[in-house]
């Protein structure tokens, strides 16, 4: 294993070029989402990111360089945060292709890209959107509601520090590990395990948000037989936070069957109007 790693690398020849490579890759990969198209999604900018490195591997304006650039015009779509790993892995394969002078099967370069982008998107989206963002939002929003600076700052830090660590170390890992290793890791279900664990965390945070951030209380008060009757007090006795929970579950049940969020938004607006005009909500408690 160690013999393979220490094999002569024509691309990253010393510590200095290595540092330069990771830095340059880091600054270029951040642009990945620009020029997203319907037909090939992130493909154009994927190749744009690799451009200077391919130029270095194959030489400026050589036919090999252009065929490599065209090779990377194939459809590509994944969570941007996960892309540096795939880019660096691809570059290590391109380098190997150049060093072995045509003995390398170039279709494997595109193949590993296509094989990785799906699972990586699943993993990346659940980690970034499902866990990181929800935790960051949940923690920051309380401060934001009070108009405190700490809110947006906390959100950006909690969300972005792991984001950029994954980009930076993803690239390093992608260049150094072999493609066989990646295939092995995919086969033994590590991705699925992480996705599952992250979903648990995400669902707990969502449950907590239901209780914390959905405001749906009745302000209905009436006098019956000399006693004041407060509807909300009765509801609280049944279950604290009953109305928000029911509302969220109803929205969820509908949206799961028919993915039409705009319809639900309108329905809630209508419901709010009806309830307020009936005097059930929106009065003075």
């Amino acid at each position: 294993m160690t013999d393979q790693v220490q094999k002569y690398d024509s691309f990253l020849t010393d510590k200095h070029t290595e540092k330069q490579f990771y830095r340059k890759l880091f600054w270029r990969q951040n642009w990945l989402m620009f020029c997203t198209s319907y037909t090939k999604q992130q493909a154009v900018t994927y190749s744009w990111t690799l451009e200077p490195f391919l130029e270095k591997i194959y030489g400026k304006d050589t036919p090999e360089f252009y065929s490599a650039m065209l090779r990377h015009q194939t459809f590509f779509n994944t969570t941007p945060m996960m892309a540096p790993f795939i880019m660096a892995l691809n570059l290590s394969m391109e380098r190997e292709n150049h060093d072995t002078k045509g003995k390398f099967d170039v279709t494997s370069i595109t193949a590993i890209k296509s094989a990785l982008m799906g699972p990586f998107a699943g993993l990346g989206d659940s980690v970034q959107q499902g866990a990181l963002r929800i935790i960051a939002t949940g923690i920051a929003i309380g401060f934001c509601q009070k108009g405190m600076w700490l809110g947006p700052v906390l959100f950006l830090l909690i969300y972005n520090i792991p984001n950029f660590l994954i980009r930076w170390y993803g690239a390093k890992l992608g260049y150094s590990v072999g493609q066989e290793f990646v295939q092995k890791a995919m086969a033994n279900g590590i991705f699925k395990t992480i996705t599952n664990a992250v979903s648990v965390l995400g669902l707990m945070m969502i449950g907590a948000m239901t209780a914390q951030y959905v405001t749906f209380t009745s302000t209905f008060v009436t006098k019956a037989a000399g006693q004041t009757f407060k509807l909300q007090a009765v509801l609280d006795q049944i279950l604290p936070g009953l109305l928000p929970l029911v509302l969220v579950l109803c929205c969820f049940a509908y949206l799961r069957k028919k993915n039409r969020p705009v319809r639900v938004l309108v329905a809630i607006l209508v419901l709010a109007f009806v309830l307020t005009f009936l005097g059930l909500t929106g009065g003075k408690a």
């Binding site: 642009w31 990945l32 989402m33 620009f34 020029c35 997203t36 037909t39 744009w48 451009e51 130029e55 252009y66 650039m69 779509n77 941007p80 959107q129 499902g130 935790i135 949940g138 923690i139 929003i141 934001c144 509601q145 009070k146 108009g147 809110g151 959100f155 950006l156 972005n160 984001n163 980009r167 290793f181 092995k184 590590i190 599952n196 664990a197 648990v200 965390l201 995400g202 669902l203 707990m204 945070m205 969502i206 449950g207 907590a208 948000m209 239901t210 209780a211 914390q212 951030y213 749906f216 509302l247 579950l249 949206l255 969020p261 938004l265 419901l271 709010a272 109007f273 005009f277 929106g282």
Partner: protein
């Protein structure tokens, strides 16, 4: 009151917001951040942060996955906050205004994406003609057009729309206003439900209710739930892994395999 200066600032805010949405996925698309940017540029940071927070709750579950964007909540948040600050109106008005604007934003973006799609074959032609300079130039052009487009959108929207929106907002009667406030409290339910769909799995359902219970019954904070949640997620991950390891390792029985796996995790 001239609207040119605020319009210019909102144009800048929308451009920064769109840039930070894509560049490194910085998270500038989130209403919380977008509202803060608008607030800073219009000179009312505290209002910007508060309105941003209210909008964040409405769009909590709206995420752009795989390039599909149901609502352009970033643009909705920028305009909602801007109108909220410029007309010094209630937060519920800002929310109500942001809803149609966010849908308009999706339309604008789709037009851009159609143009970007039309460019894709041209990129390839330049490569086939071995002309990397033209390839690079075209890439720079699409980036410039994308950012400039949003600046113009923000500038024109505020410069031309503010007075019309103002008279519209002033004409809202009181009962409608309190209904809007009630709706603003309820709307986060949609966002939360959308978020649930992305993570839902029947086997994992109890965790949702546990999170709800910690806050609703025991008055836990979000940080406390996150803390407990991380512990549980790690436990679930560990038990999953030990299950996975038992299955494939029986036919191969290689101990070197498992050490490679552990290396992967230690990294």
């Amino acid at each position: 009151m001239t609207m040119i200066w605020p319009a210019f600032m909102v144009g800048i805010a929308l451009t920064i917001q769109k840039w930070g949405d894509w560049y490194g996925s910085l998270g500038f698309n989130r209403p919380m951040v977008a509202g803060t940017i608008v607030g800073i540029l219009l000179g009312h940071p505290a209002e910007g942060i508060t309105i941003g927070a209210a909008l964040e709750l409405v769009y909590l579950g709206s995420i752009s996955l795989g390039g599909v964007m149901p609502q352009d909540f970033g643009m909705g948040a920028v305009f909602g906050t801007a109108f909220g600050i410029l007309l010094s109106s209630k937060t519920s008005v800002a929310i109500a205004l942001s809803l149609p604007i966010s849908m308009l934003g999706t339309l604008v973006y789709q037009l851009f994406k159609i143009w970007a799609t039309a460019l894709v074959p041209r990129f390839e032609t330049h490569l086939k003609e071995h002309n990397i300079k033209k390839f690079n130039r075209l890439w720079q052009i699409q980036r410039a057009v994308y950012l400039l487009m949003w600046f113009l959108m923000g500038f024109i929207g505020i410069a031309a729309g503010t007075s019309a929106i103002k008279s519209l907002v002033n004409a809202i009667p009181k009962p409608v206003m309190s209904s809007l406030t009630v709706a603003a409290g309820m709307l986060p339910a949609v966002g939360i439900a959308l978020l649930m769909i992305t993570l839902w799995n029947n086997k994992l359902a109890p965790w949702f209710f546990l999170g709800f219970a910690i806050v609703s019954f025991f008055k836990g904070t979000m940080i406390e739930v996150a803390f407990i949640g991380v512990c549980i997620a790690v436990l679930v991950g560990i038990s999953d892994l030990s299950k996975n390891k038992q299955k494939p390792s029986t036919p191969e029985g290689g101990s070197s395999e498992s050490s490679v796996e552990e290396d992967f995790f230690n990294d």
